[in-house]
Amino acid sequence: MFTWDIFIWFGAASVLTSAAAAVMAMTPDGRRCPSPARCRFRHNSAITLSFLSLIIMAVFIAGLWLSLERPPLKTMGETRLWYSFFALAAGLFTYVRWKFKWILSFSTVLATVFILINILRPEIHDQTLMPALQSPWFIPHVTVYMFSYSFLGCAFLLALVGLFKHKADVMPAADTLIYIGMAFLTVGMLSGALWAKEAWGHYWNWDPKETWALVTWLSYMMYIHLRLLGKGSQRALCLVIIFSFLCLQMCWWGVNYLPTAQDSIHVYNR
């Protein structure tokens, strides 16, 4: 039977294979590669190992599903299980699609954090979930946002570098990260709107969290349009990315410290 007692083995195996994949992915690419055959081997190993770590998580989720006789989507611990799974899946997809060698390290860290919480704090597995959160929208809405935040976090780090160093490939790399982040930010925001209609009656209610989510979204949209229109110096564009990320922090946790948070309906994520 699959229970949380055996999760430590699956979690550890998944983290180790994913970390090995991340190490394998850290290989010089293109013309800088000393031996193409070796680089290709490392690249393929990274994909195989990454896929294996995903399968390990999937087997545990499927096993838990069967032994619980209900989808494991209810408790916070079960939610984190899916976070880890999606973080690994998204990392693998992005690595295969764009060959960013650092992305596997990033998705490994993200997945490890959630796996570790599930191993170290088992008492939160049965934490109560208020009725409004018990919706099929819960998982995609939150997971998609988390995935988006991770990419936009990378873009923020890149923009900090770009403020002081003028390298030609900073802005194109930032573009890629922001397009991915913005795609998921949009899906996260709109899935939130669809869910809000179902739970609270309106797609949009100008709740503090919703408002800051919109400010964040518009700010990244401003960056994309400035780039498309060829406006703004590298320094100005980096400042837009930094401003957007600060708004994102405001949306994620900063709103809870605003005096207006009292009348927010998003209070459960404090």
Binding site: M130, Q134, I180, V187, L190, E198, P208
Partner: protein
């Protein structure tokens, strides 16, 4: 002036006149100063910047009424108009000869946003929200608007049964109400509203327990939003556009 002054059909007429005005200006006076400005980089940047400024003011102060003020209405109309002109110009590529290719990602992202925001903007005067408290076995049709004024519903509601499940710590895990709507039995739960008619939904938003006899009364929220289907269409287009944004990345952009 009250927003209800613009309720259907006036809002629909104004929306159609606005849309027809934009399309006819695009067709007939493309070289006019007005259309040139609406299609300029400054218009794109300033419309987004203004939208950010208003949202930021709402986010910092927490005053929702900012977004329903007349300056916000003007900002929104400006944003929508710029967006509409940009959509008309950019929906296909403009090669030096022959017909251009259709730009699906561009269309999904821009038309989706235009449709979703337009439904919220032009549909706002038709939207209304009521609340009512329903006691067991007492038929009622009086509901209250957000400003406290009373209204009479065209149907009658009666609470037949109310159930609350709780966790071990006493937190509610699930609650549901069996309600009769004009004699028809309906089950209401959080996240599961009941569509009573076109654009009108009933939500179970809360409950009270009477301390003396332990019986429940439930709080219902009634939302009239006939434009919600248009908003939904816009949202679905935008989600499709976002997926293309992910799949194609910055390589998918065309100047």
């Amino acid at each position: 002036m009250s927003v209800t002054f613009f309720a259907y059909p006036l809002n629909l007429i104004l929306a159609l006149l606005w849309a027809a005005g934009v399309v006819s200006m695009w067709r007939n006076c493309r070289r006019s100063r007005f259309v040139s400005f609406m299609l300029s980089k400054s218009a794109t940047v300033s419309s987004i910047a203004l939208f950010i400024a208003f949202s930021l003011a709402t986010g910092i102060t927490g005053r929702r009424e900012i977004m329903s003020s007349w300056p916000a209405v003007a900002m929104m109309l400006y944003f929508l108009t710029v967006l509409f002109f940009v959509l008309l110009r950019g929906w296909r590529t403009r090669p030096s000869s022959g017909r251009g290719k259709i730009r699906w990602r561009f269309i999904l992202n821009h038309a989706g946003l235009l449709i979703a925001l337009s439904s919220a903007f032009w549909g706002a005067p038709d939207s209304s929200e009521y609340r009512m408290q329903l006691n067991a076995d007492v038929p009622a049709r009086e509901a209250f608007r957000m400003d406290g004024s009373q209204t009479c519903l065209s149907y009658e509601l009666e609470l037949k049964e109310f159930t609350v499940d709780t966790y071990e710590n006493g937190m509610p895990s699930m609650y549901e109400a069996d309600v009769l709507i004009d004699g028809k039995p309906v089950n209401l739960r959080v996240n599961q509203p009941y569509a009573v008619s076109f654009g009108e939904d009933i939500y179970l938003s809360g409950y009270h327990m009477k301390e003396d006899d332990g019986t429940f009364s439930c709080v219902l929220q009634i939302v009239r939003e006939p434009w919600k289907y248009i908003a939904l269409a816009g949202i679905l287009l935008m989600i499709a556009g976002a997926l293309l944004l992910f799949i194609q990345g910055p390589a998918g952009k065309r100047e």
